[in-house]
């Protein structure tokens, strides 16, 4: 579904990313940092706040609520599908 979030990413809805190698597994917290540094085109505060996503943004990992997967601590696996959906009026 189309959401306001894509506006912050150059209006591109789907992004296939390959994260750089590192010795430790990537977790969601690191992913957000990486996204902020590498993908966000504008207004980062509308997407991330502090360590986590802005309140009102729903995060799905492989179609499941990330609250059930450990949120920021979830460790990413190959081919994981992460979806950000804005439930906010102004975003």
């Amino acid at each position: 579904p189309q959401t306001g979030v894509k506006l912050l990413f150059g209006s591109v809805k789907e992004h296939h990313v390959t994260l750089p190698n590192q010795s430790e597994p990537w977790d969601m917290k690191q992913l957000l940092v990486w996204i902020r540094g590498n993908m966000l085109k504008e207004r980062p505060e509308l997407f991330v706040q502090g360590d986590t996503v802005r309140p009102g943004i729903l995060v799905l990992i492989n179609d499941a609520d990330w609250e059930l997967m450990g949120e920021l601590e979830y460790e990413l696996q190959d081919k994981d599908n992460v979806v950000f959906i804005s439930t906010l009026h102004g975003g």
């Binding site: 189309q2 190698n21 309140p55």
Partner: protein, 413 residues
Amino acid sequence: MCQVDEEYNGQLEHRGAPRVSKKCVKCKENTAVLIIRAGDAFCRGCFKDYFIHKFRAMLGKNRVIFPGEKVLLAVSGGPASISMLSQVQEGLSRDAPKKLRFVPGIIYIDDGGASGQSMEERKRAVAQLESVFRATNYHYHIVHLEQVSSLPSSVLEAGSSATEKPETGLSYKAAVDHFIQTRKNQNQHSDLSVENGQSHLSSLSMQEVQNEVTSPITPEHTQALQRLFASVRTLTAKEDLLHTLRQHLILHTARTQGYTKVMMGDSCSRLAIKLLSNISLGRGASLAMDTGFSDPRYGDVVIVRPMRDYSSKEIAYYNRMFDIPSVFIPGLDTKAQDKASIQRLTESFVTKLQTDFPSTVSTIYRTSEKLHTACPPQNTNTQLSAKCLLCVCALDTKLGDCIFHLNCNTLIT
């Protein structure tokens, strides 16, 4: 040397936070995929059942829609109203158990003229929505905000109830019988414009075209609209004005096209925010009507809010999982700062609080359910001079000759 890019072999699985693998609270068998409220975890199948059931239960609990009645669905393209549309389709479908029985129509208000969108952007949005609407096979009406300039003044009046509100104490079944009887009597009159008993309400003729798209608007119309919005100084007031104008257009369409009910897609989350914002806007006296399930202020057309029990999260998840296509249309406050308007600030406040305290929204919602007006609901027995011109609610201030509500007043200062 072990290779650690994206692949994880079994040895690494014990590292890091354990994944919380909950079972669905309903069927207790499948793995849960979504948590709502303060800890109810559902699997996909049970969530779908729960979502669909809630819509029917809401309409069943508040029995105000009569079989065969024409109901106008106000769809903005956003997730909640699109979700509402899909639930109406579910409920009306032939194989639904105890299926709903009413005649739906759709209305979309194109307000791109007020939010600074170009004609091309607006046409694109309308085209996207039209393809969604066509797939439903329901009548739809595309109305441009510019058309407010040609609304008759009757839109500022409450009409008498088409069904002459039955006495309280009449059962739903009796009310349905009454409705059907009244309709039969009305149809005996050859002049359909007397449908609401007030012929002047339909004085603006609108062509009866299948799936009408109203006549194209001129740049002058758009400029006039832009001037109107530019003259309103704050975003708070602009948002309020936009809401008022949209309501008028929806009401007018409902009246001229014979709809006696309008369904709005306000979600639980949205209504919680609206409740608090409205208090800040000086609209405390009309909270029950502004956020309740049914809004009888217009008399002949009743507004209902069947999505008021759904949180934004549930709606977003359902749309995603079951491929309900919503269309994102930038509005007045898209990408606006948190403090740009009272409404945005309230949204930010409630949303943040909800993150840490997941029962915030439902608490506000439950409180709003307990709000009732102390006096009987607004009806046309109240003298017309005692109602606000813009929002058609009873006046709560004495402003002498100036008969606007306190916050409606801010629009014109």
